[in-house]
Symmetry: C2
Subunit: 637 residues, 2 copies
C-alpha cells in the first residue's frame, strides 16, 4: 500500500514534471504516408515542399487572343493596331498554355474583328497581362507546410496544386480506455439496483476523436488487483496512451495507483485541481498511463485539463485554448484555497451583459456539463469570488448561441421543455435555457438581472390570488409584464393503487392504513408547490413538524415523482403531468395559475416574442394535452 | 441563352429568396436511428427523453454504514450514539443500493468500532447525507436534449445514463460535387501543359466533412452542354444538395446556369460579393443546386458564405459565426461600391496590437488561404478602408496561435522556410509567418509596426556596405538591433548548359549567342536583388531600358527560377539555392550579407529569441548546406 497518500501538486507543475519524464522515454509516435485528399485534420510529420509549380505553365487567364505585348504599343482609338492571325496573334481560351513567342492575352471583348483573319485593337496591352505565370501561386520546391502543422481544407488544395499526392503525417495516437469497477455495467436500458451504467468511455471516446486521437475501448475490468495490473500491461502494449477510469469509491484510485506502480511507475498521484484531485500520472512500458477519476464530471475535467495536454505533447500540436469571454458573476462562489477549481457555468446575455451563474458542482451530475456554457477557472489560494465581480470564462458554446438564448428561470414545469423543443424546431438560431429554482427564486433572478423570464405559481394566502401580489412586492409596479401561462392541477402523487389511502393533505401527517408512517418528499424552499402545501396545512391547522420527510427536498416535480415511483417515498405534492409520466395515482388538490413574468425591457426581444407566440400556439396546446392536467387559455401579455 | 445576364443581389437578400424557394419545396432530409455511442456531432431529429432515472436507485455515495438518520440525532462527543449492526445499521460500499429502511450513510472514517457488532457515532447524521438519490442527475421522462441539437460528448454520457441507447438524428446531407471543364484533370504529380489540376473537390470535401455533411465527388465533366445537364440531373437524384464547380472561364458560369435552367430552375445568378459574384442558386429535382465559381479562392468563399448557409438551413442548425477580433489595418484597402468584399488577411500581434494586412487578392491563389489568419468583410457601398483604421475580422486561426506567431517580413530567402520548419519541430505553440515584400518593404513594415523582424540585404552603393546605412536612414539610430544572418551568393540563373552564353550582367542587355534577345525576368521594386542589379548595371554603364523583361516582376527567387526553368525567361538574378533547387546553371556575381533587423522592443520576445537561437544552431547550418550557396557564421545580435 505504498500509494495511499496523495500529492497536491499544482496542475502546471504536475504536467511539467510528467512531460519531463515522458521526454526521457524517447517514445515516438509513428508516422505514416497517406493520400493528401484524405489528410484533412491530420498533422504533418515533416515539412512538405511543392513538387511542381502552380500554374505549372504560363496559362491564359481569359478567353481572347495571345500576342506579343510590344506589337500593340501605341494603340489608341485614333491609332488602332492591326494584327494578323497566326502571325501576330493566336486565339486562346482560359487555361490554354500561352504560346512561347507571346507574352500577353487580350480579352475577346476588346478584340475588333475586321475580316480576313485580321483584328484591330484600340488599346495597348501590357506584357504578361491576363497571364497566370508559372508559379504565380506555388513554386516548385517551395515549402507549402512546415512540420507539425494541421492540414486544413485550403492546404489540401495547395498540396494537390503543388503536385503533392501523398503526405507524411503523424499516426493518430491510440488511446486505450480501461473502465474498472465491480458495480459498473455496459450501457443498458434496464440496469439492476446496484449497477452503475458505464458511460464515461463513450464520453471520453468522443472527446478523443475530436482531438484527433483514436480511442480504443477495453472491456470493464472488475476490482480485482491482478486483473487491473494485467489490463494495464496489455493496453500499454497495444496503445500509445492508456487511460484507466476508476470506479468512484474513495479507495479506488489507490487501487489504480498501486496497479500502475506494479506494472510500471507512478510519477504523480494527486493534483491540486477540483474536480479531479485523485488523478494519477504514470508510465508503463514507456507509455503514459493516466488514472482518471470515475465521477463523470471529474473525468471530463481531467480529460480536458490533463489527457488533452499529454496528447498535445505527443502529437506535437497545440489545441486552441478555447474562446474566452468576460461575464459578471450572478452570485458568490466559494472556493478552496488548496485547489485550482473549475466550475461549470450557465451564461446568459441579459440586457447586453453576459451573466454567469455556477451550475451544480456535484461530480456525478453529468447533465451539468450538458447545460454548461462555460468553465470558470478559479486559481488556487482564492477563497472565492463575490457576486457582481467580472470574471473571464472559457466558453463551451459559441457566443452567438449564448447571445440568442432565452434564459427562463423559476418554477419547474415540463411545459418549459415543450416550449424549448418547439423553439428548436421552429426557430433556427434561437435557444431556451431553463433552470429550476422555484417561483420565488425565479423572481429573485429577475431582480438580479440573471434571467429574461421567470415561470411562477405563487398563491397569495390573503387574497387567494396567484402571482400578481408577489410580482408587485418583489419587482415593483410597472417594471414587469405578466404573460398568461396555463392553469394546472396540483395534487398528491402516490403509488398505483394508493396503498397508503391518501385522500388529502391531512393524510400526509398521519400513519398510513398499513400502520407505517407516511413518508413525504417535499419541494425546496421558495417553490410555489411548497408554499401551496404550507398554505393548505395552515388552513387545516396542521403542523409541518408532523410530516415525516418535510425536510427531504427535491427541485422538480419529476424528481419527486421519481422517488414516489421508486418506493423511496409514499407521497409528494406535484402536478398531474409528472404523476402521469411515472404512472402514479394522483389525488387532485387544487387548480393553480402558472404564469410567466417578464421585465418590460425584454418585451421586444425576438426570442421572448417567439417564446410567447409558442405559448399561444395550437402545437403547444396539443403537446400539453398529451402531458395532461393543463388548461391552456392562450398566452397573452 | 436566357441566362447570360447576371443579377447583383446582396448576399443576405439572395439567401433569403433562395431559402423561401427551398421552403416551398418541402424537401425533407431523412432521419435515422443510430447508436448513442456513435452519435457524437450528429443533430437530434426529435427531443430525447430519459428512459430511466440516474441514479436509478438510491445509491450509497461513500464506503461506510447505512442507517436511519433519526437514530443518530443528539449524538455528540460527550453523548455518543451506540448502534447495533444489522439492526440499526448495515455496512455499505460506494454504489451499493441504500437499504429501504435507511435514509443516510455515514463515512467509515467517522465510525468508531466498539466490538460485538456495535459502533459509536460522535456526530448526528442528516437525512439523505451521502446518498445519491434516484434522479439526482436525470429523472426518467425528463427531456435530455431538445430537437435539432448537436450531440456533444457530455450529452452522450447523459443519454446513456438516462438509459437511451439509440437516438434519432438527421441523416448527414449528401452533397454532390461536380467539377466541370475540358482543361481540368484529376490530381497528378505530372500534369501536361494546358491541364489544370482539379483540387477544388478535395478542398470542398474537407469543408463539407467539417460541417457534418457527406461529400460525394463525381467525375470531372467536360464542357459539353448535354453532359453537364445529364450530370446535374443524376446528382440531383442521388444527393440532397448539388455543387457544380465550373471551370474558370468567363463564359463557364453561363454554361452552368443554362444547364441548371434546363434541368430545373435558376433562382439567382450573380451575388454582389467579391470574390464569388458568378454564384448560381438553382433548384433541380426539388434539390438545391449551387453553381460555385472555379477559381479556388472564389470557390472557398462561396462554399463558406453560401453553401454552408444552405446546409445550416437543411440541417436545422446554426454554425458558429467564427471568432471575431479587432485589428488595426496596416494599409489602405480599396473596395468596390458594388460588392460586399471578403478579403483574406494576415494578422500579427505586434506589440500587443493585432495588425491586419491584406493578402494577395488573386482568385487563383489558393496559398493565400493557407496563409490567411482572418477574413475582413467589407460591406457594399464602401470605397475602401484607410490604413490605421480599426476593423473587425473573423479569425481563421485561433487567437493563441496568432499571438504566438512571429511575423517575419522583407526579402525572400528559402532559409526563412528552414527556420519556420525548425521552429515547428522544436517549439510547441510557436509559429513563424513570413511575407516576401522585398528588403525595403520589410524595413517599411517595421516602421509601420506590422512585423517583428525583417530580412534584408541592401547594398549601400556609396559605401559598398550592406544593410547598416539603410536601417539607420529609415528606422533611426538605436531603435533596432541587427541580427547577423548569413552570407549568400547572388548570381544569374540560366538554363542548364547556359544556352545564351551569359557570363555577367552585361550579357543580359544583349542578343544571345543564338541570335534571339535575352529574356530577363526581374524582381519587384524595393527588393535587394533588384537594387543589386541596378547597382551592377550602373557600375558597367548599362541602362535598364536595354533589358528585355526588366518590367517583368516576380516576388521571390523561387518564382524567378521557376520561370527560367520553364523556358519562359532566359535569365534572372537570384541566389544560388534557388538555382540549385531548379537544377539551373548559375553564374555567380557577388557575395552579399543577408541580415535581420529587429526593433529593440521585441528583443525579449520568446519567439524572437528562439528565432535567433535557431539561426545560430547546428541544425540550421546543416540544412543550409543542403540548400547550398550560404556561409553561416552563427547568428548574433
Amino acid at each position: 500500500m505504498a500509494f495511499n497518500y496523495l500529492n497536491n501538486i499544482e496542475l502546471e507543475k504536475a504536467l511539467e514534471i510528467y512531460k519531463e519524464n515522458l521526454e526521457l522515454l524517447d517514445q515516438v509516435i509513428e508516422t505514416e504516408e497517406i493520400e493528401v485528399k484524405d489528410s484533412f485534420g491530420r498533422i504533418t510529420a515533416e515539412a512538405v515542399y511543392a513538387k511542381i509549380s502552380s500554374p505549372h505553365y504560363n496559362a491564359c487567364a481569359m478567353d481572347g487572343i495571345a500576342l506579343y505585348a510590344r506589337s500593340t504599343f501605341g494603340a489608341t482609338e485614333t491609332t488602332p493596331v492591326i494584327l494578323k492571325e497566326n502571325t501576330d496573334f493566336v486565339r486562346v481560351d482560359t487555361g490554354d498554355p500561352l504560346p512561347e513567342r507571346f507574352d500577353a492575352v487580350v480579352m475577346i471583348e476588346d478584340v475588333i474583328e475586321i475580316g480576313s483573319g485580321a483584328i484591330k485593337l484600340l488599346n495597348a496591352a501590357t506584357p504578361w497581362q491576363h497571364v497566370r505565370q508559372i508559379g504565380e501561386d506555388i513554386c516548385a520546391n517551395e515549402m507549402i507546410l512546415p512540420s507539425n502543422t494541421e492540414i486544413r481544407p485550403a492546404a489540401i488544395g495547395a498540396l494537390l496544386a503543388g503536385g503533392v499526392l501523398k503526405v507524411r503525417v503523424w499516426k493518430k495516437p491510440i488511446v486505450g480506455l480501461i473502465p474498472t469497477g465491480d458495480e459498473i455495467v455496459s450501457p443498458t436500458g434496464s440496469p439492476k439496483e446496484g449497477e452503475i451504467i458505464e458511460f464515461n468511455s463513450s464520453i471520453f471516446s468522443s472527446m478523443l476523436k475530436e482531438w484527433g486521437a483514436e480511442p480504443e475501448s477495453y472491456d470493464i475490468v472488475p476490482d480485482k488487483y491482478e486483473r487491473i495490473v494485467q489490463a494495464i500491461r496489455k493496453a500499454s502494449e497495444e496503445c500509445d496512451v492508456v487511460v484507466i477510469n476508476a470506479g468512484s469509491s474513495a479507495g479506488r484510485e489507490d487501487f489504480s495507483a498501486r496497479a500502475i506502480a506494479e506494472a510500471g511507475k507512478v510519477i504523480i498521484h494527486g493534483i491540486a485541481i477540483r474536480p479531479g484531485k485523485p488523478t494519477i500520472l504514470g508510465v508503463v512500458n514507456n507509455k503514459p498511463v493516466i488514472g482518471v477519476p470515475g465521477y463523470p464530471v471529474s473525468g471530463i475535467i481531467v480529460m480536458e485539463k490533463v489527457v488533452k495536454r499529454v496528447l498535445e505533447f505527443l502529437m506535437r500540436i497545440e489545441y486552441p485554448s478555447g474562446v474566452k469571454a468576460k461575464a459578471t458573476l450572478s452570485r458568490k462562489i466559494m472556493s478552496s484555497l488548496k485547489y485550482r477549481e473549475f466550475v461549470r457555468m450557465k451564461v446568459g446575455d441579459v440586457g447586453g451583459r453576459l451573466i454567469a451563474t455556477p451550475l451544480n458542482r456535484g461530480a456525478g451530475v453529468v447533465t451539468s456539463f450538458v447545460k454548461a456554457d462555460g468553465i470558470l477557472d478559479i486559481p488556487m489560494y482564492t477563497e472565492g469570488l463575490e457576486a457582481g465581480s467580472e470574471v473571464e470564462l472559457t466558453l463551451l458554446k459559441n457566443e452567438d448561441e449564448i447571445r440568442n438564448t432565452l434564459v427562463v428561470i423559476g418554477s419547474h414545469d415540463p411545459l418549459i421543455d415543450v416550449v424549448t423543443d418547439i423553439m428548436r424546431r421552429k426557430y433556427r438560431g434561437e435557444y431556451v435555457a431553463s433552470a429550476h429554482v422555484g417561483s420565488l427564486g425565479g423572481i429573485m433572478a429577475l431582480k438580479r438581472n440573471e434571467a429574461h423570464i421567470a415561470g411562477v405559481h405563487l398563491l397569495d394566502e390573503e387574497s387567494g390570488e396567484y402571482n400578481t401580489s408577489y410580482i408587485k412586492r418583489y419587482l415593483g409596479e410597472g417594471n414587469t409584464l405578466k404573460v398568461k401561462g396555463v392553469k394546472r392541477i396540483q395534487g398528491l402523487m402516490v403509488a398505483q393503487g394508493n396503498p397508503k389511502g391518501i385522500k388529502g393533505v391531512e393524510d400526509i401527517c398521519s400513519i398510513g392504513r398499513d400502520g407505517e408512517p407516511v413518508r413525504y418528499v417535499n419541494r425546496q424552499k421558495g417553490s410555489g408547490t411548497r408554499i401551496l402545501l404550507d398554505y393548505l396545512l395552515r388552513q387545516k391547522g396542521l403542523s409541518t413538524s408532523d410530516i415525516y420527510g418535510y425536510e427531504r427536498e427535491e427541485f422538480t416535480h419529476m424528481s419527486v415523482a421519481a422517488l414516489v415511483a421508486a418506493g423511496s417515498a409514499d407521497v409528494g405534492m406535484g402536478i398531474f403531468s409528472a404523476a402521469k409520466a411515472y404512472g402514479l395515482d394522483f389525488v387532485p388538490v387544487c387548480e393553480e395559475e402558472y404564469d410567466f413574468v417578464l421585465p418590460v425591457q425584454y418585451a421586444g426581444n425576438r426570442v421572448v416574442e417567439h417564446f410567447i407566440e409558442i405559448l399561444g400556439s395550437e402545437e403547444f396546446r396539443r403537446e400539453l394535452e398529451v402531458l395532461g392536467g393543463y388548461v391552456v387559455e392562450g398566452a397573452a401579455l
